[in-house]
């Protein structure tokens, strides 16, 4: 396009902001609606269909049988509660681990140490998730590293390999960087002057922390928890690798039904549980301002 045509076009666009907005939005909107949202919608629609067991073909007649199975068979309730419970436990643990660390990194560490810590927190994210989980198998095994170390200091041994305890530890481990980073960012955003003012007004360390700092970094904590909670809720790889006999997660059943039994309608029905849970979580998180801290 020559220069005058371009200036005329850009002037025309300048005068019509709605056209600029529409053009900018068209790409992402088309992508999301056509590919992602449309597919999501169809997926959850298929929860109301069923599958012919021998041929594996989907039968397109509306039925609530999948949801009936979910409600009536206690096994699925157990699985759902276990998944949500461990997700919550992992989130709480990660918060407890991350906040002191982030506080140290944001307020006490020197500039150089900060750079090192930042790189150090990111490195694990670049090493394969699968292999990190796999390494934990060796650490927690009966004749593994942990028991060897405990034996060296004379503390006997524990039998937590392939169990829900193992899963709790491993999940806490893999998602920790996702909790550290937004909390660190939000602690950084708190101006020093606020803390100093609190001290001037007589509040001592813990009180200042609880009444001044904590409410200010809450959005960051909630932002981090979105990830720890959601990632645990939907995971099936960690239960497969380090879980034991009673460690089936919602993700395992969904993966089993899609990737193995090819029963997509039932998988979709079961997947509405994490969908609903996350939907509520996200709405609450929005209220708490987590989206600005993302």
């Amino acid at each position: 396009m020559n220069a005058t045509a371009r200036s005329r076009a850009s002037a025309a666009l300048f005068r019509r902001p709605w056209l600029r907005a529409a053009l900018l939005l068209s790409g992402p909107t088309a992508w999301f609606v056509l590919i992602y949202l449309g597919a999501l919608f169809l997926l959850f629609l298929s929860a109301l269909w069923s599958v012919d067991s021998f041929s594996g073909k989907i039968v397109h007649s509306w039925t609530f049988s999948n949801f009936e199975t979910l409600f009536n068979v206690p096994a699925y309730r157990t699985i759902a509660l276990r998944t949500i419970g461990i997700a919550a436990a992992v989130t709480v643990t990660d918060i407890l681990l991350a906040v002191p660390f982030a506080f140290f990194a944001a307020r006490i560490a020197s500039k150089r140490l900060q750079a090192v810590l930042f790189v150090a927190v990111l490195i694990p994210l670049w090493s394969s998730y699968l292999v990190r989980v796999f390494a934990w198998r060796l650490i927690l095994a009966k004749d593994g590293v942990l028991n060897w170390a405990l034996g060296q200091i004379g503390l006997g041994s524990v039998n937590i390999g392939y169990s829900n305890w193992a899963m709790w530890i491993v999940f806490t481990y893999v998602w920790l960087p996702f909790m550290i980073l937004p909390v660190w960012a939000s602690i950084e955003r708190v101006p020093d002057s606020l803390i100093e003012a609190s001290a001037d007004l007589g509040a001592r360390g813990w009180r200042s922390f609880r009444l001044v700092l904590l409410p200010l970094i809450l959005p960051g904590i909630v932002a981090g928890s979105i990830f720890t909670f959601s990632l645990t809720l939907g995971d099936f790889i960690t239960p497969t690798l380090v879980g034991g006999a009673g460690s089936t997660f919602i993700g395992n059943v969904v993966y089993q039904e899609v990737g193995i039994s090819n029963n997509v309608p039932f998988a979709a029905a079961f997947a509405t549980i994490p969908l609903v849970v996350m939907g509520i979580y996200l709405l609450v998180a929005r209220r708490l301002g987590a989206f600005e801290a993302l």
Binding site: A9, P28, A115, L117, D143, S230, G234, L275, L282
Partner: protein
Amino acid sequence: MIGTGRWSRVALAVWAALIMLFLFFPIVIIMLYAFNPSNVQSWPLSGFSTRWFSSTWHNTEVRQALWLSVRAGLLATAIAMVLGTMAAFAVDRFRFFGREAVSLVLVLPIALPGIITGMALNSFISFNSLTFSLLTIVIGHATFCIVTVYNNVLARLRRTQSSLVEASMDLGADGWQTFRFVTLPMIATALVAGGLLAFALSFDEIVVTTFTAGAQNTLPIWIFAHIRNGQQLPQVNVVVLFVILISLIPVALAQRLTRDTGMLRSGAQAPDAGAAAAAGAGGAP
């Protein structure tokens, strides 16, 4: 001031050190076991062998998987950069119907469990009778990478003044020139930081990829297959060791790029790095 007491500083420093130990201990194990002479990992290490390095190097399948992951990552990141930037500009500059919904919708692919995204995309691909190939992998990855670029660019745009754009146009530049000479330099580092994180996300992604790949192996799929097969396990460790070492470069780059914008004690504005990293890396599995 909180934490300036001697005891608190020491305690927190010890805590930080323990967390670092916790984060890196399994990684040390991974790197150590690249030298495992046996196929099965057991403790303690039964010897020291470098034979897996050469067999991994000559393994065409892993090289293809690595290359496929790189290609998928680059393509997905490119798409995410374009679409994410477009969305960020739209949300920052204009008021329109559904504006608040955009953030929520864009974060869905990461916030919802990967298995749902995977299933949805799998149905989409089967429904449209597309072949499972690099294209479908890229579609899947780009979908959840968009939000990392979006968040980064949006955070940066919020801190820049739109008056600069108007000034540029007053001085006679048309839309394209303004974008190229004024806007783009403003958002450049945010764009790159977002892109780096999008690439990291895509590179390590396994769940959605399982549902959107055909017979191809990306690196995580290859790793998963080898963990299952257990015949040449230390090769997996060798590959991951290699990836960790190589990734020091982009991580250091990300740190330098975002150095003056966040994660340092400027006491000032929104630190995009942490925000982006958190939002970005969320979909890793």
